[in-house]
Point group: C2
Chain length 125, copies 2
């Protein structure tokens, strides 16, 4: 190890975020990326075939809609894992700040391509 490992300040990471639904990688741990994102409105129904996705709400409120008109409502301090293969749709009726943990390979709109889809390169930029 030459230099010391970096420390990321989460508030500063959120401060750098300009756009909604545009996750940014803050750090990698093993094969997972930790990302920050600001959400407002609705993303898109999608699933990640082989990848669990962890949501940790820092600010605001996030609804994860599931099939059969079911949903969970997450507030600050809530940790929720959407299991691999499960169809879901994140909805933020007010601005919501989240931390995500998911494999480095995960595409944030899963198997669905939308105008909002950000590549992994976008998320690292």
């Amino acid at each position: 190890m030459s230099g010391l490992p970096e420390t990321v300040d989460i508030e500063a990471a959120f401060a750098r975020l300009r756009d909604h639904w545009s996750p940014r990688v803050v750090v990698q741990v093993n094969d997972q990326y930790v990302k920050v994102a600001k959400l407002l409105g609705e993303l898109v129904w999608h699933r990640h075939t082989d990848e669990d996705e962890l949501f940790y709400v820092v600010r605001g409120q996030l609804v994860i809609e599931y099939e059969a008109d079911r949903s969970v409502t997450l507030g600050p301090g809530s940790i929720h894992v959407v299991p691999r293969g499960v169809l879901h749709n994140p909805v933020a009726r007010e601005e919501c700040w989240i931390v995500l943990v998911e494999p480095a390979t995960t595409r944030h709109t899963g198997d669905v391509e939308t105008p909002r889809t950000k590549s992994i390169a976008d998320q690292l930029a």
Copy 2:
């Protein structure tokens, strides 16, 4: 999916913690465990040969000591990843609450066995 995936409240998870240096698993995401722990004092110098370990400080202050008298000081909102193979020693001069992300296989004192070492079974109990 039969029932909806569980939601964990992080404050409640910390409230259930009684002992220092006794991490508890709150959720699994892919091959990683997310754990909460309360720290006070010094753990032990150790390394995790093949596993990165993420520290996220929720409350208090944590110093990660590295070799050659180097260290980083983490406050609330700091995210820091100790890379695999790197010798380190966590020191909390005041009580510190942290979230850890590390592989499900990681032993919290690495390759060092101490009276404080908690098994993975302990951490899941």
